[in-house]
């Protein structure tokens, strides 16, 4: 295939005055403005094409990659694998560029202690665990394989108990994917769904204050969660448990016991595993 019209060819025909020179900095600045502020990822192929259309001239692979890498190194964009790679506006960056206004746009890191409090408090209470049962809540956001994609739920909650009448025991593992105000996209739902390959119940937890401009996405995200059997918890006000609303309950997945077992073995301490084993022992009442 013949190489596409290069800048040099166009300049030769028309003179250089109508073609402004592109630098890495100019391309990087424009790249940021073209990315969706809600953090939705864009394919590298599409983004380079958008840049070429925007500038009215071809942005070379080399220039694009330099600009992209510069933003990535500065932590302003994130990258995903697949389909030739994707990039998205980093959360801190999208918080800055969004039109969130004065709403309480908390980062995931700031929301983590609130979610932990809710899970160990009201959420656990709702599960009605019997006295002989066990319930563990663990922050797993930094645990797991370094290169594994969507294998690190922000929190997991494990319940273990013997049946009261019938022989046998029940172990349920819940995973929670926490998203800040502008972080909940289709991809976030798939992330929560992907985590159920190791757990039985997947939840998406979304901090969505009342006056948020991201509120328009709630019906779509709810529908997506419903289609995939993912639970949805909306955080109205993270400061107290009444500010957490369960919009959708998840559907229990038939995750293979071996996958759950391996996941727990990698994420839990020996002491935690022993607590679970004890709750599942046949000697329990």
């Amino acid at each position: 295939m013949r190489p596409l019209a290069s800048r040099a060819m166009v300049e030769a025909a028309w003179g250089p005055r109508s073609i402004p020179a592109l630098s890495t900095r100019i391309v990087a600045e424009r790249l940021k403005t073209l990315l969706p502020p809600d953090g939705t990822p864009v394919l590298n192929r599409v983004l380079r094409l958008m840049l070429s259309r925007d500038f009215g001239q071809t942005v070379s692979d080399e220039l694009y990659e330099q600009a992209r890498d510069q933003l990535f190194d500065a932590g302003q964009i994130g990258r995903l694998r697949g389909q030739g790679g994707q990039v998205f506006l980093a959360k801190s960056e999208n918080g800055r560029t969004s039109e969130a206004g004065p709403s309480d746009a908390l980062s995931e890191i700031k929301l983590m202690p609130h979610l932990e409090r809710f899970l160990t408090g009201s959420f656990r209470k709702e599960l009605d665990i019997p006295p002989h049962g066990e319930c563990l809540v663990k922050d797993t956001s930094r645990l797991g394989p370094p290169l594994g994609r969507w294998a690190r739920p922000d929190f997991i909650l494990i319940t273990a108990m013997r049946f009261r009448v019938m022989p046998g025991a029940q172990l349920d593992v819940y995973s929670f994917e926490l998203k800040a105000e502008f972080g909940a996209t289709d991809l976030a739902v798939y992330e929560a769904l992907a985590q159920t390959r190791f757990t039985h119940f997947g939840y998406l937890v979304w901090n969505l204050p009342k006056a948020s401009s991201a509120l328009a996405r709630l019906p779509e995200i709810t529908a997506q969660c419903g289609q995939h059997g993912i639970g949805l918890i909306r955080i109205h006000k993270p400061g107290n448990d009444d500010g957490f609303e369960t919009i959708l309950d998840p559907v229990r997945k038939t995750t293979p016991p071996a996958a759950v077992d391996g996941f727990l073995e990698q994420r839990l301490e020996e002491e935690e595993l022993n607590r679970l084993r004890k709750a599942l022992e046949a000697t329990q009442p």
């Binding site: 295939m1 013949r2 190489p3 596409l4 019209a5 060819m9 166009v10 030769a12 025909a13 028309w14 109508s18 394919l43 192929r45 599409v46 380079r48 094409l49 958008m50 070429s52 259309r53 500038f55 009215g56 001239q57 071809t58 030739g84």
Partner: protein
């Protein structure tokens, strides 16, 4: 290579002119050719399909359109060059991970009023119809000659009927393609159109493209009337003194074609956009055009 100018025209509307322009531009670009599309239809559908609504709105606001160029050339003081109104890299379609090399000189709905204004103003200056055509042909011809070096193909999307700009582009084209549906009404319009072009040329002694126009059968369906009419068209093309030739390739009426034109705000891959049925046909059409114009393969 110096660009070959192809005018896509038909007296009748709704026969697939814009679809032909957009699909041909993208097929040529996917084959490695550099393509410029000049939209002379005030409906600006080709401009919209190629540039998308947002970019087109920007270009219209900047007067980077065909009427913006003509207004400056014919009625204004500043002599704008074609190149100042041509927008490069407009395509939202990629092929083999590269954006299709399509440039656009767009149209806008104002073109219809502007065309009337040109005629009014120039006739006020005592210019005859043939003088207006000759003057416009001169202006367009000079600019096309300059642009020929930067492109391999220049496609001109003409408005339905025979407007002043359609006449000019037909005179400047190396090849005229007449998209036609193989039914009675479309064929009727086709005969009238070819006859009108021939009459004008003879009467005014203006040099036209030496090749006969080529008919491209579009929106072809597997129904009896289409079969019979397509056969009649091919018989006409094989007559002793035919009014036109007919491409062997026929573009079927498919959902993929209809969907393709609505993807103005997406970023599809060429093969996905036109689908597995139409892509090979577009490839055949590109090959036929190359053979007709003696163009080396890219």
């Amino acid at each position: 290579m110096s660009a070959k100018v192809i005018a896509i025209a038909n007296m009748k509307g709704g026969v697939g002119k814009t679809t032909t322009v957009v699909s041909m531009a993208e097929a040529l670009a996917a084959n490695g050719y550099r393509v410029l599309v000049i939209d002379l239809d005030p409906q600006a559908n080709a401009s919209l399909c190629l540039a998308g609504d947002s970019l087109l709105a920007t270009l219209i606001a900047r007067k980077a359109t065909i009427e913006g160029f003509l207004e400056n050339q014919l009625l204004g003081n500043k002599k704008t060059a074609f190149t100042e109104c041509i927008r490069n890299n407009v395509s939202n379609v990629s092929h083999l991970n590269q954006q299709l090399a399509i440039s656009l000189l767009p149209s806008s709905p104002n073109l219809r009023h502007f065309e009337q204004k040109i005629i009014h103003d120039l006739t006020q200056r005592k210019m005859s119809w043939s003088e207006i055509i000759k003057g416009l042909s001169g202006v367009m011809g000079i600019q096309l000659t300059k642009s020929r070096k930067a492109f391999d193909f220049i496609l001109i999307d003409c408005a339905p009927g025979i407007s002043i700009l359609t006449e000019v582009s037909i005179r400047l084209a190396d090849l005229i393609i007449i998209p036609t549906i193989a039914d009675f009404l479309s064929t009727f319009g086709l005969q009238t159109f070819c006859a009108a072009m021939a009459d004008r040329s003879l009467a005014e002694g203006v040099k036209r493209a030496s090749r006969r126009p080529y008919v491209l059968i579009t929106r072809r369906r597997q129904v009896k009337i289409h079969e019979q009419t397509a056969e009649k068209l091919r018989n006409e093309a094989s007559a002793a003194k035919p009014a036109f030739d007919v491409f062997r390739t026929e573009i079927p009426e498919t959902v993929a074609v209809a969907n393709a034109l609505s993807q103005v705000n997406q970023f599809p891959i060429f093969s996905q956009k036109w689908g597995p049925v139409v892509v090979p046909l577009l490839s055949d059409l590109v090959r036929e055009i190359g053979e007709t114009l003696n163009v080396d393969r890219a």
